[in-house]
């Protein structure tokens, strides 16, 4: 079987590795730029298992386990670090919502901890809790090194014989008899039996050419990074009041962002001063000690948002035979990709749909079985 994966981000790389490890046949990966260009290198590099919906939480829990297990085999340490997520809550409604959902999380074994403002002050003395009503701490959440995760998959896949075509854009999928036949790439036509589209924000361009429309759109998100400082912020702190988040990487840099309205679409990946100022104001109010931290770099990347803020994997029954997608991660690519790769590989090779994958099929939009994930950060 000849399988082509389009997209060399974490999603495509994980799929390539998982197919190769199952000896799926001849696997080609096409990337229009260098490996992991696109949204993977632009990631905020955090993972969490706490989602509003059980489907997503369950998926993320399993996914991170996969990545942790794989770490021993990878040439690269993915630098998984469970520093936790701390949500700062400002009203009863928010607290109620977390309390309610924590029941589901407890069932899944990822129970969080509720903190009174005094507890927060004691544990994280640098946080200003004057207007905070409470906090929810998820110790199972944390950070990873996005580049090393990608490199890890890349080197494993390469060793297993995956053929990488970097700087090779795919322009079109050629279908006949409702079967995928060929890929039209910059360097010519390639015969294929299976095509997996994992091109993140650029996936729709290819899907729409063959008449498939899924409710997804790229949304530009901007991030600020400071100079490195002595490590002191363990959790990712999410201010549910201002919509800002902030965390510190193990390298010492402080990374954060804030809700900032941007029109959807593949708009230029640049950052606005207005965004930086908005974040600076929110974050220096929350953590006053950061006033003397210096913003060293800013960048932007796309969240590929799906209509229900959850990833899309697999295929629709009426689609051309051999066509699969894995995209629409809605900002959760690094959390979900390790398991997406595994389940999709099984699905492609056996035709069976694993239980965990079922909620995330592309058919859900037509069947109106949306996942309704509302907890999106950034």
């Amino acid at each position: 079987m000849k399988i082509a994966i389009v997209g060399g981000g974490v999603s495509g790389l994980s799929i390539a590795y998982n197919l190769a490890v199952r000896s799926a046949g001849e696997i080609h990966l096409f990337e229009k730029n260098w490996i992991m260009y696109g949204s993977s290198t632009r990631s905020g590099a955090r993972f969490r298992v706490h989602f509003w919906t059980e489907e997503n939480s369950r998926f993320a829990i399993e996914s991170i386990k996969r990545l942790e297990k794989l770490a021993g085999k990878m040439e690269w340490n993915p630098i998984i670090y469970r520093g936790g997520y701390l949500w700062l809550l400002f009203n009863e409604h928010q607290i109620e919502r977390f309390k309610e959902t924590n029941k589901m999380w407890s069932k899944l074994g990822v129970q969080g901890i509720f903190l009174e403002p005094e507890d927060i002050r004691e544990r994280y003395p640098y946080i200003n809790v004057d207007d905070v009503l409470g906090g929810f701490y998820g110790p199972q959440d944390g950070s990873l090194h996005h580049d090393y995760v990608c490199f890890g998959y890349y080197s494993l896949a390469k060793k297993l014989g995956v053929i990488f075509h970097e700087f090779t854009p795919v322009n079109e999928i050629i279908v006949s008899d409702n079967k995928v036949k060929q890929l039209k790439t910059m360097s010519g036509l390639v015969d294929v039996d299976v095509v997996v589209l994992a091109a993140g924000a650029w996936t729709n361009e290819l899907l729409e050419k063959i008449g498939i429309h899924l409710p997804t759109e790229p949304l530009r998100k901007e991030v600020c990074l400071t100079e490195p400082y002595h490590y002191f912020i363990d959790p990712l702190i999410i201010d549910m009041g201002s919509g800002a988040y902030v965390g510190q990487t193990l390298k010492g840099e402080i990374l954060g962002s804030i809700d900032y309205p941007t029109p959807p679409g593949l708009i230029k990946l640049e950052t606005k001063l207005e965004f930086v100022i908005k974040w600076a104001r929110a974050i220096t109010k929350r953590i006053p000690i950061l006033k003397n931290a210096r913003v060293m770099r800013t960048w932007a990347g796309y969240y590929m948002m799906s209509a229900d803020n959850s990833h899309i994997m697999g295929r629709g029954p009426e689609w051309p035979e051999g066509l699969y997608v894995a995209y629409g991660y809605s900002g959760h690519g690094f959390m979900m990709a390790p398991l997406v790769g595994e389940l999709l590989a099984e699905n492609i090779l056996t035709g069976k749909i694993p239980e965990l994958m079922k909620p995330f099929l592309p058919t859900r939009f037509r069947e109106n079985k949306l996942i309704q994930e509302k907890l999106v950060i950034g």
Binding site: Y37, Y229, Y231, K251, K291, A293, R297, W299
Partner: protein, 595 residues
């Protein structure tokens, strides 16, 4: 005719007493703390991030930020802060026990070792590792200051107050346009500020030329000047500039921009090239000729560029002994070096050594090995256009063999949209060209902004420019202009990085000083991991992600990767730079509502 004889320039400002680790030393109010400390023999200003190696300053540019030293209660770039009476500077010289223990293992791949990939061991190790890097503690910093944001309107912004920037400023203002001139140094003049030799091709003596330009700029009612201010680059909505001195972020609103950021002396790659006492070539001149502080009594100058020779000659006249070294064979050298100093050619490897600063250098060359005692080293083998601002704008930057990485522009000095360039940043090697380019950029801007009469003047200047280029045999400049039209980049050959002075990758030859990345790390990435584009090398090792944001390491790492992998540097490429070019404190960004 010239200002200097055999005596050194006087120190700047009035004498004050500052303290270093409790010891009182003399400093001057108009010189940076780093200079005062160096003069008093305190050369170690910081320890490096990962390996805790002793570090001094490499250049005086506020944008390099290689070392941060605690002055008072705050970690600052000691090259950016001037001396004040009673000021206390402090450097923590201790090395954590765990770092001492694991130093032999600490490299770019430390965290990927098998032991550390074990899930349980990693979680234990991560807790230690995260606190081991040598970073300033934010908790030690008082967080009470508030900066401001100010909006500044003008017709044109000129970035860089060197020869081309001053000429561009004067020329645009004369045409009736309002100009804002921004420079990161304490005073205008760029290289003319401290390079006291006359400029070939310009009949006016150097100091008269500078004074004349400054007079014209100052006399014009159309010019506002911001010195000690860094142009921090283009955000999507606004270009910005930041003054650390005033703690002000300027939001710029102008119709056109002329970027004249000049050149950066690229660090040379040799063993222990991070020792205090290793400087950029221009910095050595700036120390003696502007601040009146000798870099040492006997120095090694690496390279045989125009820059090297000018530095060597001026130091020699001040009675400082010079040893010149370069890759060139002695019989190929066209200059008479006998008056300047000793020359060692065909150099293959340089090894600096010393405990806390440069003390000795071993030079390995075709005919054997020499040991010389020196107390400073000047890196002037290669200078590269400071293209970080242009790089933010996605402008094309092309490598030409024997020239370097050059931003693509046309002969109107137009880069793209409303951005123009002039001077060293365009790759032009000679000052006489910088002067003409300053005028052309100004006239092109004026023409674009609809100033009457600008066009004939512009065309005339272009003719003069073409003539000069052909006189000087700068064919490659025409190639750049052609690429700006055709967009076609030819393959280029590339033999040897001009800054490379080691025979094989070494753990003590550094490419990135902010992140402690060595040539050994890069060679592993290239050979074992197979990464050959700078973007991937950056992501595996962290080059270009440190505080200098690639200003000092980007070209070196690109050329080194090209060399190791035998690739055209255009294939290796550079990495994209992002705003801001120099870090801006959050209290400034969060500051006032404008004004």
């Amino acid at each position: 005719m010239s200002l200097f004889g055999d005596t050194i320039q006087e120190r700047r400002g009035s004498r004050v007493r500052i303290f270093f680790r409790g010891v009182g030393v003399e400093g001057y109010t108009l010189e940076p703390v780093s200079i005062a400390l160096y003069h008093n023999g305190f050369k170690v200003l910081s320890r490096s991030k990962k390996l805790y190696r002793v570090r001094g300053f490499y250049s005086l540019s506020p944008q390099d930020r290689l070392v941060l030293t605690r002055v008072g209660s705050e970690y600052v770039n000691p090259c950016e802060v001037f001396c004040q009476e009673g000021q206390e500077a402090h450097v923590d010289l201790s090395v954590p026990f765990l770092v001492k223990l694991f130093t032999p293992l600490l490299d770019g791949y430390f965290q990927h070792r098998r032991l550390l990939k074990n899930k349980i061991l990693w979680s234990l190790a991560a807790d230690k590792i995260k606190k081991l890097a040598n970073h300033p503690r934010i908790g030690d910093i008082e967080a009470e200051k508030t900066g401001r944001i100010l909006e500044v309107k003008s017709d044109v912004v000129v970035v860089g107050g060197g020869l081309s920037g001053l000429v561009a400023t004067y020329t645009t203002s004369k045409l009736g346009l309002r100009v804002l001139l921004i420079d990161d140094s304490p005073a205008l003049g760029g290289r003319m500020r401290y390079d006291h030799m006359d400029i070939p091709g310009i009949s006016m003596p150097r100091e008269n030329l500078l004074q004349d330009l400054l007079n014209k700029v100052n006399a014009s009612g159309n010019v506002s000047i911001l010195t000690r201010t860094v142009f921090t680059g283009f955000f999507e909505d606004h270009p910005t500039a930041y003054s650390e001195y005033d703690k002000v972020l300027y939001v710029l609103k102008a119709k056109a921009y002329i970027i004249a950021t000049g050149l950066v002396d690229v660090p040379c790659i040799f063993r222990n090239n991070d020792l205090p006492g290793v400087f950029s070539g221009s910095t050595v001149l700036e120390m003696v000729n502007y601040y009146g502080v000798e870099p040492g009594r006997r120095g090694l100058i690496i390279g045989l560029s125009q820059n090297s020779l000018r530095i060597a000659e001026q130091l020699k006249r001040l009675g400082i002994d010079i040893v010149l070294v370069s890759h060139s064979k002695p019989e190929e050298v066209r200059y008479d070096l006998s008056k300047i100093g000793e020359y060692v050619g065909s150099v293959k490897e340089i090894q600096a050594s010393g405990k806390t600063c440069v003390e000795r250098v071993n030079i390995i060359h075709d005919n054997g090995r020499d040991e010389v005692k020196v107390d400073f080293i000047a890196c002037s083998a290669f200078s590269t256009p400071d293209v970080r601002i242009l790089n933010q704008l996605d402008s094309k930057i092309v490598f030409l063999d024997n020239v370097g990485f050059i931003p693509i522009h046309d002969e109107y000095m137009h880069l793209k949209d409303n951005i123009f360039i002039a001077g060293g940043v365009s790759g032009s090697p000679y000052s006489i060209l910088h002067l003409i380019e300053g005028e052309i950029a100004a006239l092109s801007v004026a023409y674009k902004l609809g100033v009457k009469d600008a066009e004939p003047l512009m065309e005339e200047k272009i003719r003069e420019y073409r003539l000069k280029l052909s006189e000087m045999n700068l064919e490659w400049k025409n190639k750049i202009f052609e690429i700006s039209i055709s967009g076609l980049i030819e393959n280029t050959s590339f033999s040897y990085p001009p800054t490379l002075f080691i025979e094989k990758p070494r753990r003590d030859a550094f490419i990135c000083f902010c992140e402690d990345v060595t040539t050994k790390d890069i060679s592993r990435t290239v050979y074992e991991k197979g990464y050959r584009t700078l973007e991937l090398v950056k992501r595996s090792l962290g080059v270009c992600t440190g505080r200098c944001q690639g200003r000092l390491c980007m070209v070196n790492s690109a050329l080194y990767v090209s060399y190791l992998s035998n690739l055209d540097p255009n294939q290796v490429g550079l990495t994209k730079a992002r705003a801001p070019t120099t870090p801006i404190p959050l209290h400034v960004l969060a500051g006032g509502e404008g004004g």
